[in-house]
Symmetry: C2
Subunit: 430 residues, 2 copies
């Protein structure tokens, strides 16, 4: 019989439990696909008594000793930086391949971990870290490796997408929709990582790094969450035939010779005709634009134990196959070393709804405020409302700071009674 | 300098021309990703004078001599079985890796070619053979290799999708929509391969083989084209909130212990709410259902020179990387050896519109015809039309032959004046 591939599992929460189940249920299929049996040697957890549903003899509290016990592939589903980073570095240094679902660690230390993996001849895979079950990292780094990717736009956080979908459907406030998400288990007790965009920012860094062959970390990512999105914003979007999504946008910007990458996470109005606009509830989708391939979209479940475990097992099979064949998966070249463009210099478009004094010359004054900042206006809609008027303005593309400064100037203007809604816009809107 | 990877290109039509262009334009990026420069050593074509736009010194009419000139990767974009199969077999036997966009050959001889590749330690990749630019084969065989795929439903032929989209939008006949597709260059002068479903059947065989780890060839695929789809079918579909698509369906059928695969290509009614229903014009999409991952969808351009070349180059980079690393990509295990279930025994559902005599007892007689064949009815809608009535019936799932026999029996019945529309149904309809 072929020598088994020895697997250590670090962590046994929602995802880990499913990994254990699927490894057992599909052991014969996995063996046929790998070319050797997969042997789960141990499961490192902090409190074994909390894990009654997995084989008890596999549980250990000593992750380090488990990693050191002649393991071929370490599967990590704990999350966070410490103490996981040290464990995975030590595993990779010993030539043990690593499969991780840890977006925070990969976004922070992915480049360093890849360096160790490359030096010691180990694989490092983390498909589960971005968009759960959706195969997106392998397509980006392998299928599209002969193409030039220009943009990756994704909905990669299910919690915020659920909240925004509810606000869109019911007209509810952010607080109401968040409460509903918490009740249904879509939002955690402390929802900060999701609603403030930290989770999406980690995923953005990973996507941008692979798409543009350049090192990007989470702190390079401009990040704005959804807690300031109001029912008025949602209504304004609807009037324009748009919906609001928390978008993860990674793009090449600048002219040849002055190329950079811009990576950002923020809510944005998106026309309902855009393929991403129909992605509802806790689903995820990633839209990719490449020179030769054109537009591509990948859609599926972005979270949950079984979907995430599917991605983990796909990586585990790949790492195990390579161990059997004494080969290695594709490296992740970061040769491009493109600089990261700060948000202020990144080209965006704004939608701005203003409550203004309804008298002749007001539009001219407002338009002048845009012109002063070098911002060109795409469309204006003016609606009289008694002594006030409502102005709905969509700009052309301009540096984000010029747009933000224009909004600040308008806020301070005596003719502007209220700024009703300010929201960036993606895609073609009327 | 690292030794270059020597590449031979067989064929230089729409796709080949783009491969040459992209290899030249992106040579520095490709070199960085591969870890060695890619050197295009020669382009084998039948008539060099027809290719004024590629470097003339690379053109040769002697494909065999080119393949034999110490090549690392052969890229084949000619298509068809002869003489290509012999060339690719000889290349693989010599340990030369092969990248092919040839769906006909892979559907017919993929297993044999993989056997040679495995014996001689060469790679065989063909992402471009199915759904153009959409990364679908690598996700199926690698990303989902730890999961159990139950179903793959795709729109993988752009010509027929364009024709059906036009029929749906304008109410035109098949002949009119085909003429429009021909005028616009979406259909070839001889459209048989597309409209009769041969192209989709080849792709179905490739998808099923990878999804179910089982050998499937094009002749295993049940195939029905779109030339019999009428404006009446399209109108009937619309009344049910459906559109008609030429679907490629690969699925596991049967109980454990009696498992099989069913692979079929035929037009079907699909509810407009289904993710595939919105795939218009010449776009392709593939919907995958897996046990743990749940539903996944992949969307993009299914044909055209540049999109297909993107997929070819992705494979070329993978094969070249492996040459540099002296390693091999994942094998394509076909261990499952599941039998292919004939269409008659495959579970399907029908929509049937009948023009019947409008008198008491007719519905009972029609219902009895279904019952006699063991077919259970899901919904019936009855509309009086003067002395006639129209019956619109949607069945529950039954073996296809039981449904087909019921239709035949109804055709011969004296109470049925006319069979207005018969169409299989996928997804949930009312």
């Amino acid at each position: 019989m072929t020598k088994p591939i020895r697997v250590a599992l670090l962590g046994c929460g929602t995802v880990g439990t499913q990994v254990v189940r699927l490894m057992a249920e599909q052991s014969r299929d996995l063996e046929a696909r790998v070319g050797a049996p997969l042997e789960l040697v141990g499961i490192a957890v902090r409190r074994p008594e909390r894990h009654p549903d997995v084989p008890q003899d596999l549980l250990t509290t000593d992750a380090q000793a488990l990693i050191d016990s002649d393991i071929d592939v370490v599967v990590e589903v704990i999350g966070g930086i410490d103490p996981v980073q040290g464990w995975l570095e030590r595993a990779l240094e010993a030539g043990t391949s690593v499969v991780s679902a840890n977006k925070v660690l990969i976004a922070e230390a992915g480049a360093a971990l890849h360096d160790i993996a490359e030096r010691s001849g180990a694989d490092l895979y983390y498909e589960a870290a971005v968009a759960g079950a959706i195969p997106i990292l392998r397509p980006l780094s392998e299928s599209l490796s002969g193409d030039r990717i220009n943009r990756v736009i994704g909905i990669v956080n299910g919690t915020t997408n659920f909240i925004l979908s509810r606000m869109d459907e019911t007209g509810s406030s952010f607080a109401e929709a968040l409460a509903e998400a918490t009740d249904l288990g879509y939002a955690e007790a402390d929802p900060t990582a999701d609603v403030d965009g930290f989770d999406a920012a980690s995923k953005a860094a990973i996507l941008a790094g692979l798409a543009f062959h350049t090192p990007v970390v989470a702190s390079d990512v401009y990040r704005e969450g959804i807690s300031n999105v109001t029912a008025a914003d949602v209504a304004s979007a609807d009037e324009m035939g748009c919906t609001i999504k928390l978008l993860t946008i990674c793009e090449r910007v600048g002219e040849p010779g002055d190329e950079a990458v811009a990576v950002r996470v923020h809510p944005a109005m998106l026309p309902r005709s855009h393929p991403l606009a129909g992605v509802g509830d806790a689903f995820n989708a990633v839209f990719v634009e490449a020179d030769a391939a054109g537009p591509l979209m990948f859609y599926g479940k972005g979270a949950g134990g079984a979907p995430t475990a599917s991605a983990v097992l796909g990586d585990l099979v790949a790492a195990a196959r390579n161990k059997v064949a004494h080969s290695l998966g594709a490296a992740v070249p970061r040769y491009a070393e493109l600089p990261v463009r700060p948000m202020g210099k990144t080209p965006t478009r704004y939608h701005i709804s203003l409550d203004v004094t309804d008298r002749a010359g007001v539009l001219a004054q407002v338009a002048q405020a845009f012109a002063d900042n070098g911002v060109s206006i795409s469309t204006v809609r003016q609606e009289g409302r008694g002594s006030d008027a409502k102005l709905v303005i969509v700009t052309h593309i301009a540096p984000d700071e010029a747009l933000a400064e224009t909004v600040e100037k308008l806020r301070g203007s005596e003719i502007v009674h209220d700024v009703l809604s300010v929201m960036r816009v993606e895609g073609k809107v009327q």
